[in-house]
Every structure is written in C-alpha cells, then in structure tokens.
Amino acid sequence: MPDDTPWQLDVRPHGVDGLELVLGGRWCMDGVLPASEVLAKALERGIRRVRFDGTGLAAWDSGLLTFVAGVMKLCTARGIAIEASGLPNGAQRLLAMALAVPEQKVALRSAEGQGLLAQVGGATIEFFRGIPQMLNFLGEITQSFARLFSGRAHFRRSDLWREIEEVGPRALPIVFVISFLVGLILAYLGADQLRMVGAQIFIADLVAIGMVREIGALMTGIIVAGRTGAAFAARLGTMQVNDEIDAFKTLGISSIDFLVLPRLLALMLMVPLLTLYSGFIGMLAGLLVSATIFDIGVYEYYTEVLRALELKHFMVGLSKGSVYGAMIAYAGCLRGMQCGRSAEAVGRAATSAVVTAILLITIAASIMTIVYYQLDI
C-alpha cells in the first residue's frame, strides 16, 4: 500500500436510516485533514446509525482519532448510534480509553471582560485587604525580634553570614559607580549656582553634607532594593512554590525566625555601612570635580569638608541606611512569603518587592527628613 495517498472520505447510505463512512488513504497529522463538521449536514437527514469502514486506511495517527472523536461527539449530541467496529483495532481501543472518563463539567471562572470601574474597585479592595496582611507580617517580625533578644530564635548563624556577604561586599562595585556619578552630578549642579555668588568652596559642604545625610542612603537604598529586595522575594517565593515554607510550618519552626530574621539583620547591618561608603565615594567625586574643573585646592577642599561635617550628619545618614535596610528586607520577605505557587507568581513577587521597597523608602525618607529638621538635628 502506498503510504502517501491523501485521505479519502466517502459517505454512503447504509440501510434505511444508517450512514457508512468509508475512510481511506493516509490520515496523519502532517497532512491537511477534514474537520468533523463537514458531516454535520449529512447527519441531519433522519440518520439513526453511523458506522465506519476503515479497511482502506493506509496510515493513521491522532489525526484520524481526533476526526472520529469529533464525529462521535456530533452523533451523541443528535442521539445517533455509533458502530466503531469497522475501525482498526488499535484506534478503537484508544477511542474507548478517551471516552472512558466522562468530561468534567466545571463552571469556569473568567476574570476577563471586567469593566474599568470593576477593575478599579477590585484593585482598591485588594489594596485594603493587603494592609492587615502587612501589619500582621510586621507583628510576626516584631515577635521574632523579641525571641532573638531572649535568645530563643532559631536560625543558622551561617545563613546570616552568607546574607551579609551577599548584600554587603558584593554590592560594593555597583554602589561605587552610582555614588561616584551622583557625587559628580551634585558637584556640578552646586558649582553652577555657587559660582554666581563666588562661593565655589561651598561645593565641598554641599557634596559632603548632601551625600552623607541624604543622597548616600537614598542611592544605596534604591540599589539594594533592586539588587537584594528582589532576590529575597524570588528566593522565598520559589521556596513557597516548592512547599519549603509549609515544611517549616509542619515542623513547628518559625519561617520568620529562620528565613526572614537573618535577611533583616543582614540588611540592617550592611545598608548603613554601604551608606557610609557611598558618602565617601561621593565626596571623592566632588573633590575630583572641584580640583580639576573649578580650581579648588585639594587641601582647601579637605579642610572645608572637615569643617562642614559633624558627627550628627553621620548619625542621620547611618540611621536612614538602617531604616531603609529594614524596609527593603521587610518588603522583599513580605512579597516572597505572599507569593503564589507558580513561576509567574515569583516574577510578580519580585517586581512587587522592589516597588513596595522603594515606596516605603521614599515615605520613610520624607518623614525622617521632616522629623530631623524639627528636632534641629
């Protein structure tokens, strides 16, 4: 039998109310096969029985099976009896297997087709539902801290060191690049204005105080949010997908102690240090600009910086760094713990962690700036 004769389908009357479908040639998926709907019309005219004749088939695969399954569906819908015995034995058995388990009838919930108003409403409800969760998580972390100080929190010290290494030293290159460029920009920006009043030397004050008090912490916060906050969420989210978080729960080990606490501590320790580093790099950039472009002596710049910087500026910068670090760890771990159980959910958790962290950092920055100003620090 030649294998390449295309499919053939003959529809013949069989008895008074019967129809015989004669199948021939090659019924494989790699060719263009007819849809079962071509028979819809033929089945209308008072047909009660349908039988198949497959003796002419040269080759077949799922293409044939799908066609026959489609015909069977059409017939069942019209109450027509089916006689499959004319088909190849293997095809009959596979069709029987496909029909053995009845189709699951489930109401499918579809999220599509919602109006704009419904979407806005849904998002708003979702937002307010999220707030108790956030507060709850904050509470759990607070309890965990209490356990830490009473020495009852379980986590591995090696985890803490690993996180510290990951978020601290490994972030040095990127913090260097960003801080240097920001310091450069700040110096230029200031120089342009100060030159008008002939007070270029105050570039040193501007850059030093600006970097140490505000910009260093803010830049570091944003870098760490993108670098580490997202990583936390992805890591914990993947653990959620693998049931690892549930495994902690069933063992009665607090996943907050074990997973969140070391990350939180690592960030609260490392972000202030990175902030300090960022401040120094910024001042270095300011010095470079002042000395090469605006003719301010290196020693002059140095003494001006020493005169301008007070301990309180460092304390402000360090406190901000620590708070930002806590915010980033909080946002990253929260979104990771809330993660759904799919690859897509992990992606959303990482995105959401960065957005939440930057939002929290900005809010905290504003509040702290106002408070410090009022307290005259």
């Binding site: 998926m29 040269a58 190849p88 189709e103």
Partner: protein
C-alpha cells in the same frame, strides 16, 4: 497500522559506552544497550542511581562525559544542530513533576508543540488537544491552569503534552509516582496501547514493580554501588534468572 518507519539496518536507539558525570563524580559509566522499535524499555534502579540522568542524556538535555546516544545510527550529541533538532522532534518527554508551563492553561500547554511544529489550523489543534486530554482522563480541564491541579493530574497533563505530536519515542520519567493505583494502571494501559496502536517506542524510568513486570518487554538495571549497568533484557527474565541484585530489587528484597 501505524506509519512504517524508515527501515535500515541500524538499531532504533543505541547507547554506546555512555558515561555520565557531574564534575568528577561519575554517576554511571560504560552503559551499552539497545532499544528496539516498539519496545517498552524500562530503566530500573534504586534511588539516586542515575536513572533520571540517563534519561536527560538520552533526550539531549545533559551532555554525557563519554559515549554516544544513537537514533537510527545518528549520534544525538555529535550531530549537526539541524539534525539534532530533527531527532529531538521525534521525542516526547514527560518530566517527573509534569513540567507544565505555569502561565499557560492545560489546553495551551498541549497546543504549543502543535502550533510550533505543524501548520494545522487552530480549530484542528483544539480538537487534537481535547482528544489528548481525554486520553489521559482529563477531558473538560482545558481551561485550567497547572497550579489548580493535583500532582497526579499535572503528570497526566504532562503526558498529554508529551504525546501531542504523536512522537516516535516517548520518554517518561516516573509515570506512576503520585498516582492512585487505578489511575496508575490506566496509565500503564495507555502506554501499552500507544505502543500497540501507534507503534510508539517507549522508554520508562520507574521503580514501580507492578509496571515494570506488566508492561516492560526490555530493560536495563542501573546499580548505585558499582555505578554501572548490571543487567539488560526482559524484566521477567531478569526476575527469574538474572543477577541476584536485580532479583532482590524486583522482589522487594525477599529473595
């Protein structure tokens, strides 16, 4: 009456002196065996002996340290990229956890290989998808996402995807783990039926004794201690007169 394969003198699948390693750690070395067309070939062995690693080497996912895997005489790992692509298209693979794409519905999961590799119109693809899902007992679950299914259902949906294109060779990792006994048996029946009706050659990685002895007609036993194969052939023969270790395995340690 499945499609006749191109006949030549080459064995259908041949594995020659295959050694698989992770760095310096040799998982299995010097594996030599053949799979004939229409075989249900069982890869047996205890936990951690390298069954899944062998599977990954056979389907082109993990480069073996030495040796070769030949399909009809063509070396999978040394073939030109387009030849390798063609060989891979003949394979359907079911991973241990189902490996369904989580952002796609079941129907989209099964339809993706069809829309990538065939020119079928969408209506025909939908029909094929529904039929394949019905074959694995998941009729009506087309619009579900993998996250909404149980482990056993994911596995069956994975099988529907693996056989979407009617592959010549179906490679299945642990088909019955996580399935209830009746569903597991139905799956075994489906595997035998695919072989009998469509002529699919099937490579099964399993340690389900009931499956090994009822459906397998050829096998290999990988030993975890010596890191190589210690038996190949019909599992029933291995049970009756094989290496003591294999008999021990196949009788759950009672002989």
């Amino acid at each position: 009456m499945a499609e006749a394969p191109p006949t030549n003198d080459q064995p259908f699948i041949e594995v020659r002196a295959l050694t698989m390693a992770y760095g310096d750690f040799v998982v299995q070395h010097d594996l030599d065996f053949m799979v004939n067309q229409g075989d249900i070939f069982v890869v047996m062995g205890g936990n951690g002996c390298g069954k899944t690693t062998l599977m990954r080497a056979m389907v082109g996912l993990q480069q073996p340290a030495h040796g070769s895997v030949l399909y009809g005489g063509e070396d999978l790992w040394r073939a030109a990229p387009e030849v390798r692509q063609r060989l891979k298209r003949r394979l359907g693979v079911l991973f241990q956890g189902g490996a369904l794409w989580s952002s796609l519905t079941l129907a989209e999961n099964v339809a993706l290989p069809l829309s990538e590799y065939t020119d079928l119109p969408q209506a025909r693809i939908d029909e094929i998808v529904s039929f394949k899902l019905a074959l694995v007992g998941l009729a009506g679950f087309e619009e579900f996402y993998p996250a909404e299914l149980s482990g056993g259902m994911k596995k069956r949906a994975g099988l529907a995807r693996a056989m979407a294109l009617d592959p010549d060779i179906l490679v299945i990792d642990e088909p019955s783990s996580g399935l209830d006994p009746l569903t597991a048996r139905r799956l075994d029946e489906l595997i035998v039926e695919l072989r009998d009706s469509l002529g699919t050659t099937i490579v099964v990685v399993t340690h389900e004794l009931a499956s090994i002895l009822s459906i397998g007609n050829n096998s290999i036993y990988l030993d975890a201690d010596t890191h190589t194969m210690i038996a190949t052939g019909h599992p029933q023969v291995a049970l009756e007169s094989g290496h003591p270790k294999v008999r021990h395995f196949l009788t759950r340690g009672t002989t």
